[in-house]
Symmetry: D3
Subunit: 242 residues, 6 copies
């Protein structure tokens, strides 16, 4: 695996605030329209998640390989991933969108939390989900299913590009989650997107304040020249330089 | 658009109480069996909703029309709808049941609330959903998705008949929502349905009381002559004329 | 119907504790990999459910049989089932996974609770769901839909083998539900499965404790000889004989 | 099983001609709108099929019952059905619409043909389909899949009411198939429906002739008084009494 | 409806030749990536289709409006469309992708052919399909279903923008069909797309010839400078000016 | 990639004959029940295919990587695969079962045929399919779609284990296709499976002959002792030693 581009602390910090709706809009302005996962829902609380993708890929199970009852920590790709994942990492499982089994259980989730993992994302289901959720990490998935992953899945490899929830995820991509779900930000765009998102949320909080006060969307959202001037004054009055 | 048949205040009042299950049954007695939306779920609290449909229709997006980043309040059908919707209205978005994008966000929702809108219904998803839900209006949809509607949708027109959740919705149709979901009552049947629903819920509260007390459903639900006589006495004893 | 194999009180008791994840794993060790329902979710609280299957089968409705508005308690298979169901029984409705109508409402649910029924499982939807949930019985289904079952369903017969959520359910099979969903245990395996599940959960609580304490999964989960020895000592120290 | 109402030879004869489109329309005039199977396609030639339903029901497989490699002709419901099916019968398999396995193969199909069976209908798939089709019987299904039925199915029972392609099928119901697919006619309506269908096709052949000749649909389809009079004359001219 | 931009005869002529694969690629070079219908298949022969869209929109049926058995040619949007459609027109039905009914039958299809209609496109099904196909017009759809459209559909209006097979279709858009399916070309781009497609197919026929002769794709497809020079010589040698 | 186990010529030869139904049954006797692809259909003639898997994996597209209009033969995984594929190889594309674009077109298919490729398998669609089919190689897929693969796909890598049609495919696995579809035989089992399939088809041809002659399946299929003895005599009489 190639070295990942470093992400500045200021970028990580900026990414704490914006909604996935804002981030998705910002990405679309960069020409990226397919960045938000479909069918991957927040399964508990908290839902705020910021981190980088550690990918794990599942293919269909074959009985002679997967129904043996043996889990070998030295060869099984899922187990290898668990012991490599680290701080800031979010496990992203490509489970082909399958609802017919779990993709991870509580003991492995616990180990990953100990190792510094900051969230779980799967387009399949979780098993023993109540206990996973009690770990307090943001957890996104298709739902719950108690069958062990080996029922229909074979962990094939990790840290390769995958698809999850219909979106491409490259190792190291930045993921942000909130109660809507999960957006994937290409790593090289993270700094720029983070800044633009902060600026956009600032502007939109002003528009919203006006709308709440009874303004029509006409002239306000999107803003006309007058509204933009008003925004700049509002911004200055708060002492936050543009 | 033709003038809508007026709905009496007494009808609006009667519609506050019955469950969508009762209303759906009453409609089936009028020969209407496809009146409850499928795949359109309550997304927050409150879920009790009564109002009339203001319809908005989406078709698939085309990049040259919809990926421009421009939202024109004077031509975009969604924006036009937002500034026309009024008291008692419920926005009903025909989004072809698509889960792959949002169909509305928080700023427009806020504006509609200010204008008197009493609920949101979409067979697509919402974005920035947590903030929409904080408005306190009943909100029904397929789920959450942060991508802007223009990602896959083009707002085509408003106040035309549409399909939503597999049910025909004509502008002005009466919608009632509860925690099961949303029922559509043809406007011209509203008064009759409201009355029959009230009567039916009154009878069923009696049957339920008996069942809770240990009665078999045989003879009770549906009632035989004896149960019906007993019901009439019970009703009279409460002082509510049949 | 043939007499059901008796289930010992000790088995019922053992089944109170284990998660459906554990039970599904234990069943897979017996060669049974398709025992957990897909698309059948807990709809309220509580979710812990243990009982035996009382099956009810729906086929598609035909208007001349099912859109009559008449519910005959002496011939309708659903109604007959309601008045036969008893203590420890869980109603299991095979609704072909259809989301387009309810499969049961509150009055019948109330009657079944009075008769001793301990849970509801359907791969279709419920109507008047809020009131059903207020009964306090674990309730599993595809979701909510207010349309009466007769809209698209015809109750065909009861206590025959059915499919529910993609799993075979034979009358008398043992069902266990938790917040993940519902597992089906063939009745003749119940005692064995209950014991093995208890033993497995005991072992796993030990592994989890170690993982929480910082142990790698390597050597711990699955355990090597050393961990197993440690487990036996831990177990003895707690005074529970292996 | 109750004795089936006899079907007159004249009815069988009348049913040879009309399209399933005509029959579906005639049934809708009797208030039956859900009589044509969805997702059940003709898989070869010929497609014209007329006969009565012999139903077979599949539920999900369980490995200990179904993955044994043993097929017992004296207990397996599929095998029992094969040796009971007779002249005019059409095998109708309720396979829950599952595409992930076959539901019947060539050797059993051959045996049924020898026994007089006149067609096959399944909402699952066929295996060794090329050889089944070479038998020359009309064959309707979801498609082809080579996996043996026991992979995911367990034959539960036969000659009970079932659902197939979303339609209720009662044993003895009359099935007609053509290149559109399969319509189910309740047995007690067969004679009436057959007659009405013949009359309707006669009228429509006249309308079509006019349309082909350049007539507008206005006044022709549906016919006004003048067209109806013209039809009666046309009919008389052909010497077929109305 | 606004006047449609005229399409030159030379454009219509150019559009006779290119495959939908070529046209789809050319449109993607204009930034349009969602122009080919999904789930809309050729149902017979011929499949080559070139014409302009005449749109018809269906919404869900409501029994009191649609199960009356009455088809009024003066108010029913489908019937009105049939008597307005003309030469070069292709009927495009937005049927919400529903497979559970037909959307058109043979008599109306015949009338439209007489009026000059050159093809049929529906994202629903056809009924009496064998007879429709015998008209010899290219016909694209989801499949076959004998139920009359009124079973689940209500013709709402015509010549409004619609979605069909997941693609936006505006009245007058140019449709081209072949055995892959149907591509939608925005009317204002038709001339440009037609020319670019012709040029692209010319180049690709040269690359293909080389590949058939054993060339590697490297240097050939896409072409390097040498291959491009060779192409220009080949083109000149055939006497067709670039 | 590790060296593949050699396959004897005699095995390749044996694999020419048996149906995929027979092979699927033989594999199930080895405990492998999920070996036949679902949703992957033969798209033309011929359908008989025998070869070894050369896998290619697609993930979702990202506009900045995939909507550039550039296809680089030296870095694009699809292009690299095309120039590496060789005799006996069958291209197997894991396209996540997506119907919304093609996965391969005619020029690349032609190049692969020249290189010795003996078949194409994709759980996505093909574009310019008529021309691909005219190459005369067996071609299996979900259907046809003219959009270029880059519309929704990014070729990620090749010759890694993949899923296709719900089945695990490891590089070098043996694929057999017929008119039912495609079965995947783990490479290390090929010789054994080939022999058992030949023997099974020999036996079944005898049973079929008897069934065609009027025998009941009872005693014949599965065979009792007498039928087995008869089979052995029949076999000897044909001069083929058991």
């Amino acid at each position: 695996m190639p070295e990942l581009i470093p992400i500045a602390d200021s970028t990580w910090k900026l990414l704490e605030a914006p909604s996935t709706a804002t981030l998705t809009t910002v990405l679309s302005k960069h020409g990226l329209w397919n960045t938000f996962m479909t069918g991957v829902h927040p399964l508990g609380n908290p839902t705020r998640m910021v981190g980088q993708a550690f990918t794990l890929r599942y293919i269909p199970a074959r009985e002679d390989l997967d129904h043996t009852g043996v889990f070998d920590n030295l060869t099984d790709a899922q187990r290898l991933a668990v012991e490599r994942i680290g701080p800031r990492d979010i496990l992203v499982i490509d489970a082909r969108g399958e609802a017919r089994a779990g993709t991870m259980g509580n003991i492995l989730a616990t180990r990953m939390k100990v190792r510094g993992c900051v969230g779980f994302v799967s387009d399949g289901c979780y098993r023993d989900t109540a206990n996973i959720l009690s770990l307090g990490l943001p957890t996104y998935g298709k739902g719950m299913h108690a069958a062990t992953n080996k029922t229909i899945h074979h962990p094939a490899d990790f840290q390769l590009p995958v698809g999850c929830g219909g979106v491409a995820v490259y190792p190291g991509d930045i993921l942000v989650g909130d109660s809507d779900g999960v957006v994937v930000i290409p790593r090289h765009l993270a700094a720029k997107v983070a800044e633009e998102a902060a600026a956009m949320e600032d502007r939109e909080s002003f528009y919203l304040e006006k709308i709440q006060g009874g303004a029509s969307i006409i002239g306000t959202y999107p803003p006309n020249e007058e509204t933009m001037a008003e925004y700049r004054r509002w911004k200055e009055s708060r002492g936050t330089p543009s």
